[in-house]
């Protein structure tokens, strides 16, 4: 009897607990100063995945608050790998932040499609930002859902001193690049600091090397219309070139990670390093005296291209209680003033055109990203699918470097993945 009664009590308690947890929305909602409008104090919450940017944003937010004294902004970053989960959970339980950082392209746009974001087409100044940059936060309905923050560019970094000592110059063609690498190797210097252990760096490097094989946007147009596919000669050549570089990689490169690669380059043991604008700060921190420069990828028709894509935008939560104030911040982000603050604070290329910084390399990247940019195809156009086509390429390239796949098999895999979701290939 006692046994029975205990079970009875326990089940009621458990049921009650379930009901309570089921109903509460688990509030992480930020305190708002007071009601909307009327010049009263309002505090906006702003979520980001860039913990390392906290200090930089303090200065930027201060500048905004000086012009808008009734708005306070509470910048709250989360660990990058956990950000999406935290954000998605918050948005679903209607407790999301007022302003949120949006992943570029497909993953961010998916939030807009789920109805969580406010369209920003009416924000003044937003269309001063180029259309292909806005594309990173433009939904399939044609509306803009985020103000892009910055461009990432990827390129070959090189050590000026090592190049000069060996009578070398930035290569102007693929053959020159190979000849340069060969010379360096003969002198006992690792030509290219490279590692195949982390997949994302493989697609990133491919993003730098590939555009040389299909120089120009003509091929891209054909590809994106479905008139060509990823098994085409151009794309296959790009993968073959990734293969051709193997002799110029460090010993045991299949086991190297970004850390190892960065160290090899920063300690002047390797002459070149394929990586992004976002690595600039990291390399300089390791070795402030490194004679650093970069060259964009030389193409087969004698031009050069810098691979770029948009890195994150800021968006407004459609359910924010302070939309007007949040939109005000969006307006600020589209101004040149913000662009300059941002570019100098983080040594990054601002998405706002015509912004220059006090760092000559960043300025050179910003310039080239306007004159000779090409999109990072795998992020801009092929970041969908389960697993994504980008991930498929990464894994297949890893297989190629491990001697398990041929370049032909790599493009086969990539095309197979894209064909499962990319509309022009589905026909």
């Amino acid at each position: 009897m006692k046994q029975f009664r205990f079970r009875y009590v326990a089940s009621i308690v458990l049921a009650a607990v379930m009901v309570v947890t089921g109903c509460s929305s688990g509030g992480t909602e930020t305190e708002s100063g007071s009601r909307q409008g009327g010049g009263q104090q309002v505090t906006l919450s702003m979520h980001s995945w860039r913990v390392e940017d906290t200090e930089g944003y303090k200065a930027i937010i201060k500048a905004f608050e000086a012009d808008n004294p009734h708005i306070k902004i509470d910048f709250k970053p989360f660990k990058a790998t956990e950000y999406n989960t935290i954000l998605n959970t918050a948005l679903q339980s209607d407790s999301g932040p007022d302003i949120l950082q949006l992943r570029p392209y497909a993953p961010g746009i998916a939030l807009a499609e789920a109805g969580h974001l406010e369209p920003l087409d009416k924000v003044p100044g937003i269309f001063t930002i180029p259309k292909d940059v806005l594309a990173a936060a433009t939904g399939k309905d044609g509306k803009v859902y985020g103000v892009p923050l910055s461009l990432n560019s990827t390129q070959f970094y090189y050590n000026k001193k090592i190049f000069e000592q060996n009578g070398l110059q930035a290569p102007k063609s693929w053959d020159e690049l190979i000849a340069t690498a060969k010379t360096l190797k003969e002198k006992g210097i690792v030509p290219i600091s490279f590692g195949a252990k982390e997949g994302w760096l493989l697609s990133l490097s491919h993003g730098v090397i590939a555009p040389a094989s299909y120089s120009g946007t003509d091929y891209l147009d054909k590809l994106l219309k479905g008139e060509s596919d990823l098994k085409s000669a151009e794309f296959l050549q790009s993968v073959q070139r990734m293969h051709e570089l193997i002799p110029y990689f460090p010993e045991n490169y299949v086991g190297l990670e970004l850390n190892d690669m960065r160290t090899l380059f920063a300690t002047e043991k390797a002459a070149m390093f394929i990586n992004g604008s976002f690595e600039l700060e990291g390399i300089k921190k390791l070795n402030p005296d490194l004679p650093l420069d970069f060259f964009p990828m030389p193409t087969d028709d004698g031009k050069q291209v810098l691979t770029t894509w948009v890195d994150g935008s800021y968006a407004v939560n459609a359910k924010s209680k302070h939309k007007a104030e949040a939109l005000k911040f969006m307006e600020f982000m589209a101004t040149k003033k913000f662009g300059e603050l941002f570019a100098n604070q983080f040594k990054r290329i601002s998405a706002v055109p015509g912004v220059s910084t006090d760092d000559p390399l960043v300025n050179k990247m910003a310039e080239l990203s306007q004159s000779s940019a090409t999109p990072y195809l795998m992020v801009v156009n092929f970041a969908e699918g389960k697993p994504t086509t980008k991930q498929t390429l990464e894994n297949a390239l890893q297989g190629m470097y491990l001697g398990k796949l041929t370049p032909e098999q790599v493009v086969e895999e990539v095309q197979k993945s894209a064909a499962t979701w990319f509309p022009p290939f589905k026909k």
């Binding site: 326990a10 379930m18 789920a114 252990k197 491990l402």
Partner: protein, 297 residues
Amino acid sequence: MRWLIHLFPLPALVIYTLFVVYPIFSAFLYSLYDWNGIKRGAFVGLQNFMTLFTVEPFNEMFWNAFRHNVFYFVVEMIVQNGIAFGLAFLIYRKIRGSGFLKIAYFMPRLLSVIVIGFLWKLILNPNYGALNTVLAKIGLEEWSRPWLGDPDTALLAIILINCWFGIGFAMLIFLAGLQSIPEDLIEAARLDGATGLRMLWKMILPLCMPAITIMTIFTFIQAFEAFELVYAMQGSMGEPFYSTDTLAVYFYRMAFSSGAGDVTLGLGSALAVVLFCIVGSVSALSLYLMRKREVQH
């Protein structure tokens, strides 16, 4: 007032229900939906389970990870538990310094898995790692390789590190088992003329069966839930080339691995349910079967 005693387990029960029972049921529920992590989509019944087992590349990745888990289990049983039993036996026989050894073998357990992963990553680093350096010093340079970047060695390396980490714990369990054997039984067997291997095989092992049962099931659960070390050393992609993928890593990648934008919570939940069924049913079954073979004393 004695009935009050029945209320004491309530806090634990509530917490257990909230954080263990409820998630298990909700995972089962989620597995029935087409869910990308942002918005719960349509009810799709058992479609996710079908996808997991019939659609490329999901089925390939599942069996690939499953094989790795089995390999994990086999290696741990042989290497970790084999060595641990041997050590436990030596300490049980009271060789000199057994007290120190007991502590020494348990030491790795004191470190967090993340620290262990970091430490071994440094040791195995192909450029400046201690292992390759030592190999070069003793004239075995051709043996040096990118241990964690080579799919032929990466998984085994991780499992062996896990064994190194787990030996101390397994040894303590075996030691407890050995020490619970009544002295007079051993004495009686000795008087009957049992010695050496015969004694070990016919007396000690059967009497140790409860500890062996427990350790086997522990190892099984551990092997099928292998995640932390793989994640700490190779990330959520099971790199290189999926050669270190385990079911738990595959699950994490599918359900949470953010940034990639291909989160499939429904499919991930389906995998979690399958994993739960594997671990639950095999553990229960082996517990039942092995209990039968245990000797009562």
